[in-house]
Symmetry: C2
Subunit: 123 residues, 2 copies
Amino acid sequence: MTEHAFILFAHGARDPEWSRPLEALRAQLSQRRPGSAVALAYLELMSPSLPDCLQALADAGIRRVDVVPAFMARGAHLRRDLPLLLEQQRQRLPMLDIGVTEALGEAAAVQAAMADWIAGQSR
Amino acid sequence: MTEHAFILFAHGARDPEWSRPLEALRAQLSQRRPGSAVALAYLELMSPSLPDCLQALADAGIRRVDVVPAFMARGAHLRRDLPLLLEQQRQRLPMLDIGVTEALGEAAAVQAAMADWIAGQSR
């Protein structure tokens, strides 16, 4: 059984179309990691919230989770709010081993890909 | 003389550290495109604004600009506000040919790099 999950943790927005690229990223990650569950969770305006997502994964038998902040950079949401939120969730869901990665926009490999892509974009 | 510029257009945040990955991306893009200027501009909370940035580029002799939304996805800011803002700026600064690209988080090559990077992150 799958015991590991990634959570793509994004800001959320009022426009339901906003989450489409996150859904596409989720599908690509699932292809690359068929042995892991891949879920989406949102800070605000969309559901599920991160606590609800973690609860659902725990209920489904997941035991290790890596939370991937799908943000361009780390502001107060990631520096201040996310560590507190994760600490609460670790106490609430002790069966889960919860880790967190760099923000996507800060990862060196992602930065290089963004620079490569932009460099090819001028008209 | 350089006549082309990229503007990395990001949301902005209260925390001054927030812009660091954008600065790093700007440096990487400058290396790849030494013939183009690369500027940062923000929707809110940081400066310069996009209008101020465009004005400064026009004053410096830039004639073609590609605005690159450094956002994970397109919500109301990009779908509704940015096209209106760019239309106003095209009227105000007719010497500038202003284009706009996909949002970084929506570009297929960037999505693939993000999925590759995440796939290597689990503990």
